[in-house]
Symmetry: C2
């Protein structure tokens, strides 16, 4: 797979060594994370919303009520800035300053395309269910026409995309290494618990 | 504690039954979540960044490099839309349409105030460390003047704030209750693992 091009918007200026434009690294981040944050602006007002996302090929998808306010702005042609963040660890350094977190985050800049064709819309909503639980799209009662009408599916072409990734242990200044302060990494991850049947 | 007032921006129009303006419910969400997403716009361009946040009284704080591009926009007076999201569970309904997630999310609209007074800046950076690990601000080597200068601390007064919360099991349509489809909730939470010492 090719890399994403570095554009004015996606060029990472702070901490460029943590920048990544590689689809082979970025797509698994999009696939692992359940929730993204979608930001846009409308008439000078910044808006932000969390929502489930999923990926199909070179597109990122979200869905929601057709009456969703942020969707209205996106469908008027406002560009979205979408952030997907996975927190992987707390990094404890010997100095307060070098404390950090391990993370993988992706930012996507794109305009929304409304999925209107019924079969494609059904396919994408199935893919969302499959992301949450494999096989679920074949178990649940499919959407009827009214339900399908009440749901909007938006697609964002993955073209202007960057990731920023930190891994590994603390990076202390050499003169701090002899300090009697413990240092290390505490891993952190999203854990699914046992299913509680209804 | 009093509730936050409902403003044009914070009024929740979709799913108003899930809206919450109660500080006693909202502040623990801000305190539990490690990461927020900060959005703003600059010259028509939407921007978004994930970052650690913390709270002290009626203010939310973030920190970062003094050269951070998004911080520059915020310090020019651009309002931030900040979202804090906790994912609590995957909700499996009998119908595809009624699948959902349990979550607690908060949105804050506010302009940034730069913390310039040294003692207050040190206090806030200590509070950040204490949030990540109690006692840590007394263990780590404190920031020196250069490190303090390289760090910007921004405060956001908590005035225009709303939460949206979903809890509980699936809500299926009555006519779907007899379907032979399992339904229930799978809890989900951020889990900290064992500390790996450096």
């Amino acid at each position: 797979m090719s890399d994403f091009p570095v554009t004015e918007k996606t060029q990472i200026k702070r901490g460029p060594k943590r920048a990544c434009y590689d689809k082979e690294i970025i797509y698994p981040i999009l696939d692992e994370a359940l929730v993204c944050h979608v930001a846009t602006e409308w008439q000078g007002q910044s808006m932000i919303q969390p929502t489930i996302h999923w990926r199909d090929g070179d597109y990122l998808y979200i869905h929601g009520s057709s009456k969703n306010g942020l969707f209205q702005a996106l469908l008027q042609g406002q560009e979205a800035a979408i952030c997907i963040t996975l927190l992987d660890g707390l990094v404890f350094a010997r100095s307060a300053f070098h404390h950090s977190v391990n993370y993988r985050s992706v930012i996507v800049y794109a305009k929304a395309e409304l999925i209107e064709e019924e079969q494609e819309k059904r396919k994408q909503l199935d893919l969302m269910l499959e992301k949450v639980k494999e096989g679920r799209s074949k178990e649940a009662r499919p959407a009827n026409d009214n339900e399908l009408k009440a749901t909007s599916v938006l697609a964002f072409k993955l073209e202007e995309v960057s990731a920023k990734i930190r891994t590994g242990g603390p990076v202390d200044d050499p003169e701090d290494m002899a300090l009697d302060v413990w240092a290390g990494v505490q891993p952190i991850q999203l854990q699914k618990g046992p299913l509680n049947l209804d």
